[in-house]
Amino acid sequence: MKLLIAGATSAIAHETARYFAADGAELFLVGRDPEKLAAIQHDLQVRGAKRVVSYALDLNELERHEAMISEAYEALGGLDAVLIAHGTLPDQARVQHNRAETLQEFQTNALSYISLLTILAERFEQQRRGCIAVISSVAGDRGRGSNYVYGAAKGAVSLFASGLRARLSKAGVAVVTIKPGFVDTPMTAHLKKNPLYASPARVGRRIYVAMLKGEDVVYVPWFWRYIMGIIRLIPERLFKRLPL
């Protein structure tokens, strides 16, 4: 298995990568911080990855995506799967009053995904096999007053992936949309925890399985499918008054 991971230093991506590493996969890791990338690279090597290549890049630099993906193909001699997992969780109360910050969050959490997916779609459509997984969020299922900047960006990712899945299914390529609920990671370190929080290890295991099977839309843990199903059914007239 030859796998590209964008946002490889995220806790969820790392946990997923551990399962592929134990299978002897070849991995191309993309992340911002070279030191953290090295820590992940060594861990995956010890755990059995056949080869691990690190590539330091801020994925907000969209114009460098093309070169990065070419480099991944060259370094591994092809790609079987991609996991796009980078992201930031903005402080809604702050960014909602700031146009530049709101757009920046959209750049990180939506546009950079769309940029990567557009380039990868061409390659995977041609090779007619493989799997592209994106980490979206349950937050993208409905715009909530408390988190709509992040939610809208993730919603864009979910919709884009849905359309891409329809297009690439004809080429035999799987597009997997992962929708985690609350996960106990550095991204949520500042938030108060509740019993709905899942461990990154559990989420990583689920993503690994979903990628191997080429599933479509995966809620992690599973019960979020039902929670979000109910939340989507609430009429807007009522929903706008709810403290969500």
Binding site: A11, E35, K36, A39, I40, H42, D43, V46, R47, D184, P186, A189, K193, N194, P195, Y197, S199
Partner: protein, 447 residues
């Protein structure tokens, strides 16, 4: 304020004493510039919190949760050296190394501890008579001090701090990563022999006969038996093996069961424990049995029940472990067993083992040549505490010491008598680091 990592408070494994106010800061990356000096109050590293007593608690202070530091760094199979971050668990290590023909140099009775915790408590296991403590096999580690210094410690470099940190109960700084030796083993199974012994003298005979030929030895003792039966129990010994044909299931089994609720405290009483002990002792009809078992149930029988400490109910329980020198061993063990059965306080689990003479590297390490007995007591207030104070006196009179890493109650005077080297050790404590345990056992001399 209590910040919960997983929606749960951070208590000790024995759940006595209970802390009310404690902060938690998670350590995510070993390379981050970690500014410990600016945290309010004192700090204490914390792994999986399997310490029974208060050495893993820091009331009114901050715990540095190291569990996100769970990355391997290097595994040199030609030298048998593994390097990993401090929060990697022994369970994770076994999952990695066992399929490649390796095993831990020694292991405590649970695999759900971190490497940092194994070093800070200088843990020991059933092969102590051969391998010594875990700290014996540590070649180096990196220690972060609150002044921002990062020190590589080994027997050659910062050697004093190396000795102080092994068994140093987390007080000398934050271990970021460690390197230690692992051992090649014949296979991930244990050829296990179990022998019933009817009294303490018989235990010593079997033990003397076993240590030469067996890597692992230990015994379960029925500490409610009295008179003629005083010190009866089951002796277990074994060696690594690879059975032929190899059974299909060689990896660790999935946990069988999670203790779903806290049992009411009265469930474990004199009658039920006596019945259990008697049943367990008589469950083995022949004098000796031989079986080849996977490593997991041999080393970690209790890991099969997640959260087994809930058996003891809300009040929690205390673990009491001591070691007495060989010359004094029989009289001391008999005196203690007699004292316990006379007190009417129940001990559910009692484990007896003869330590070897491999020296422990740690300044404050507990294991030393002699005989050790570990006992679990459900916490029943003053009655339990008073009994343990009396046991301290018996241990002290026989030249023994009590294990501080498992302690939740010994007096400052007892601790300082057991570990006169504590003043020397105190020089190496990081001024920012402290624990509920350390304040308790040094209080008297600070005031």
């Amino acid at each position: 304020m209590i910040i919960n990592g997983h929606g749960r408070t951070y208590q000790s494994w024995g759940r006595y004493p209970k802390v009310k106010r404690q902060n938690v800061v998670r350590i995510h990356w070993r390379g981050d510039s970690l500014d410990l000096a600016h945290i309010n109050g004192s700090v204490l590293p914390r792994g999986l919190g399997r310490s029974y007593g208060d050495s893993c608690l820091n009331e009114d202070g901050t715990l540095l949760d190291t569990t996100p530091l769970n990355r391997f760094i290097a595994f040199d199979e030609s030298a048998g050296l593994l390097r990993c971050e401090a929060g990697v668990t022994l369970a994770e290590i076994l999952r990695l190394i066992v399929p490649r023909g390796w095993f831990l140099p020694t292991t405590p009775g649970t695999k759900f501890v971190t490497v940092g915790g194994a070093i800070a408590n200088d843990v020991h296991g059933k092969n102590h008579h051969r391998a010594g403590t875990f700290g014996r096999h540590v070649t180096r580690f990196e220690l972060l001090r609150s002044n921002g210094e990062r020190l590589i410690c080994s027997p050659d470099e910062n050697a004093d701090l190396f000795r102080a940190t092994i068994g140093g109960l987390g007080l000398t700084g934050l271990i970021l990563w460690a390197e230690f030796r692992v051992q090649r083993v014949a296979g991930p199974f244990i050829a296990k022999e179990q022998i019933r012994f009817s009294c303490i003298d018989e235990f010593f005979e079997i033990s003397a006969d076993s240590d030469e030929r067996y890597e692992h030895t230990m015994a379960w003792v029925d500490c409610l038996a009295t008179g003629r039966n005083l010190g009866r129990g089951l002796f277990m010994r074994g060696n690594y093996t690879r059975p032929k044909p190899i059974p299909r299931q060689t990896t660790e089994p999935r946990s069988l069961f999670t203790m779903p609720i806290q049992l009411p405290a009265f469930v474990l009483n004199l009658m039920t424990v006596r019945a259990f002990n008697s049943l367990y002792y008589h469950s083995q009809l022949p004098k000796r049995t031989f079986r080849t078992v996977p490593y997991d149930p041999f080393f970690y029988p209790l890991d099969a029940i997640h959260e087994w400490h809930r058996l003891y109910g809300a009040p929690g329980f205390l673990q009491y472990q001591f070691v007495v020198p060989y010359a004094q061993d029989r009289t001391a063990i008999k005196a203690i067993l007699t004292e316990i059965s006379r007190s009417g306080v129940v001990s559910f689990l009692a484990v007896l083992k003869v330590f070897g003479d491999v020296p422990s590297p740690g300044m404050l390490s507990f294991p030393r040549p002699g005989v050790t007995l570990a006992l679990d007591f459900p916490f029943r207030g003053q009655r339990t505490l008073a009994l343990l104070d009396r046991l301290d006196q018996i241990v002290q009179a026989h030249g023994g010491v009590v294990n501080p890493a498992k302690d939740a109650r010994m007096s400052a005077a007892s601790f300082q008598a057991f570990y006169p080297q504590w003043r020397e050790f105190a020089q190496y404590i990081d001024p920012k680091f402290s624990s509920s345990f350390w304040r308790r056992v040094t209080q008297a001399s600070h005031e």
